[in-house]
């Protein structure tokens, strides 16, 4: 049975602003479900609707098979972790952590035990007597997480919990979150605009834009087969090569004019109706040495970005003067201005409808 089911959910804010438009998805038990999208796409609103912090305009939300659409947040037993932590500034850390348990009039010894457990897990045992204002961002983030953990909630709702941390801490907390989620066998619903976070943590990603769901799936699935240009563009690190090009089709081969390469087609019918098409190829699928199933294209090295463990080349195709990004091993050395051969992996090129922008099967 699914853990959380969101059915035809919509949310309008005043003046007819559609924050969320008729979305439906389900979250399985023990999923690390990531809502991913640019700011203003409705992902946070969706999370707040699940948590009951906003009222739905229409649609339903089910938790463990029970309709909770109109249930008060205090009765949903869902733990919410906020981007800016939302700790209670007048309470020390211990009181912050125990707040929900104290409200439920839990036995003092049990509270004590729980807090010590969680504090140990999050390595905040020595901070218990301090006030939130005396903690660093990372420590506050841990306390916010701890406040959710002490409760044994039915699911965790996390709203961009790592975005206020510095890059290094974010990576560490990422690992920690994955570890905790696995250890507790908990269901996490996690909102982020950071595709690296989504790729690394999620068991399932739901990509949203303008209040609508574009694609739901396992991270690798979505990465390999984005169903539209927006997803292909958004789920890319650092960038995806996406271009519009004139095409011609002869027999079962398509010629992409922009880079002048021929690719074989299985599904000629679908592509036949276009004389122009959008195609994408990721930087790691363009090589600088010949491999199987590749097509050679001449180009000039324009910019080299050395990231330490790899290099990102920006090359200009000689024929059409378009710029492509190529990801290479950092040990390979090129000079700027050097004329090189690059090899497109023909199986990795994706085609999109130039008007509807959705994926076309080759």
């Amino acid at each position: 049975m699914n853990k959380i089911l969101v059915k035809n959910l919509s949310k309008k804010f005043q003046k007819n602003i559609d924050a969320v438009k008729n979305i439906t998805f389900e979250i399985e038990k023990e999923d690390f479900f990531v809502l991913l999208g640019p700011s203003g796409c409705g992902k946070s609103t969706t999370l707040r609707l699940i948590g009951g912090l906003e009222n739905t305009s229409s649609g339903q939300i089910f938790l463990d098979g029970k309709d909770i659409t109109n249930t008060d947040p205090k009765d949903r037993n869902l733990a919410f972790v906020f981007q800016n932590y939302a700790l209670y500034p007048h309470m020390n850390i211990k009181k912050n952590l125990s707040f929900s348990l104290r409200l439920k009039k839990t036995n003092k010894e049990i509270i004590e035990k729980k807090i010590n457990e969680v504090a140990k897990l999050l390595q905040i045992s020595d901070l218990l007597d301090r006030k939130p204002s005396e903690l660093s961002g990372g420590q506050r983030q841990r306390v916010a997480l701890g406040r959710a953990l002490v409760r044994n909630p039915r699911a965790f709702l996390l709203d961009e919990p790592l975005s206020n941390l510095d890059a290094r801490l974010r990576v560490l907390m990422r690992t920690e979150l994955i570890r905790i989620q696995k250890m507790l066998n908990a269901t996490f619903v996690y909102v982020t605009h950071d595709q690296v976070e989504a790729m690394t943590m999620a068991t399932k990603i739901c990509i949203m834009n303008k209040g609508e769901i574009l694609q739901i799936g396992k991270p690798a699935e979505i990465y390999e087969k984005p169903n539209c240009i927006f997803v292909a563009n958004f789920l890319a690190n650092p960038v995806n090569n996406i271009f519009k090009s004139k095409i011609s089709i002869i027999e079962n081969e398509i010629n992409i004019k922009l880079i002048d390469i021929n690719l074989s087609l299985k599904n000629k019918v679908k592509i036949n109706k276009f004389n122009e098409i959008i195609f994408s190829i990721r930087p790691e699928h363009i090589y600088v040495e010949k491999k199987e199933n590749t097509v050679k294209v001449k180009s000039v090295v324009e910019v080299i970005e050395n990231l330490g463990h790899e290099k990102i080349l920006c090359v200009k195709i000689v024929k059409s003067e378009t710029l492509f990004y190529v990801r290479i091993n950092s040990e390979i050395i090129f000079k700027i201005g050097e004329l090189i051969d690059i090899f497109f992996d023909v199986n990795k090129v994706l085609f999109f409808d130039p008007i509807k922008e959705n994926l076309i099967e080759r």
């Binding site: 948590g51 009951g52 912090l53 008060d72 947040p73 205090k74 009765d75 949903r76 037993n77 869902l78 733990a79 919410f80 906020f82 800016n84 939302a86 700790l87 209670y88 500034p89 007048h90 309470m91 707040f99 929900s100 409200l103 439920k104 204002s133 406040r147 409760r151 709702l157």
Partner: protein, 292 residues
């Protein structure tokens, strides 16, 4: 002090500051010192001179004065009751208004109106409303079949009426300050608390009250200090009467000085009142200067 400023620059600074310093000395420091000095003399309006130094005799007389004692008791109850009800009512209304998003500027304007009206005018308006025969209040009561009430004529009733009018006049002050405090509380702690399982009362006790503590303390202290000094309302509405039922300390001091013409003793009483108010103000200053 900044040592880089050379002498002429510093002198120029003093010259610039001089007019305002002079004004402060003239209109604040001089009257206060004059009052304190005259409290040690037998200084009356009939005999305006500093010839008769009598030490602390004015103070001794003041302390022994039963009427002063009475006015201190009256003031004490007046202040406690007025501040208590204004706070309770003000906080309640502020909590209700805080949930309203629309028409903020309109109700803020309405709330500010009583504060904008001169206390003398407030007193006059209410004296008309409360007139035993001609007042609108007794007329309205008569429509309900209730006997006319002698609002300002009966000692106990007059005290209650004065408290009521003061609440009417001053409760907006509480509402506006508390409302400002309430609207400054961030939303997230409430949302966190609701997710943590808190109901409305839990939220009020664990979020609203702790967040509002500094505002509440400052508001109550300010109102307390102003309430002790209440004078104009009494002057217009009851003149301290009937008997001495509404004889607040400020009004009693005024009577001693300008009706009994005993300026020295009145000055002594003023000094005592000043001391009390300063003692009350100290915690306020301490609180406001706290670094966190």
């Amino acid at each position: 002090m900044d040592n880089n400023l050379n002498l002429s620059d510093r002198r120029f600074g003093y010259i610039l500051a001089a007019p305002s310093v002079l004004i402060v000395i003239l209109i604040i420091l001089f009257p206060i010192s004059f009052a304190i000095v005259s409290s040690f003399f037998d200084y009356t309006l009939i005999n305006k001179s500093f010839n008769n130094f009598i030490g602390i005799e004015n103070y001794l007389n003041a302390i022994k004065n039963e009427r002063l004692f009475n006015s201190i008791v009256v003031t004490f109850f007046f202040v406690i009751l007025v501040v208590f009800f204004e706070f309770l009512l003000g906080f309640f209304i502020a909590l209700l208004l805080n949930t309203i998003e629309k028409f903020k500027s309109i109700y803020y304007f309405i709330l500010l109106l009583p504060l904008l009206i001169n206390p003398i005018v407030v007193g006059l308006i209410w004296r008309m409303f409360l007139h035993p025969q001609l007042g609108i209040l007794n007329y309205l009561l008569s429509l309900l079949g209730i006997e006319p009430v002698n609002w300002l004529g009966d000692p106990q009733m007059a005290f209650v009426t004065i408290i009521f009018v003061d609440i009417w006049h001053q409760v907006s002050f509480m509402i506006i300050l508390l409302l400002a405090g309430l609207s400054a509380i961030p939303k997230e702690p409430y949302e966190a608390a609701r997710s943590d399982g808190a109901n409305i009362i839990d939220c009020f006790l664990h979020i609203t009250l702790p967040y509002m503590r500094p505002v509440i303390i400052v508001t109550i202290l300010i109102r307390l200090i102003f309430a002790i000094k209440t004078y104009d309302l009494i002057y217009i509405m009851t003149k301290g009467g009937p008997g001495d039922a509404t004889d607040l300390i400020s009004y009693y001091i005024y009577r001693s000085a300008f009706i009994s013409l005993n300026l020295g003793e009145a000055a002594a009483m003023s000094s005592i009142l000043l001391t009390i108010i300063i003692l009350l103000t100290l915690p306020l200053f301490k609180y406001m200067n706290r670094s966190d």
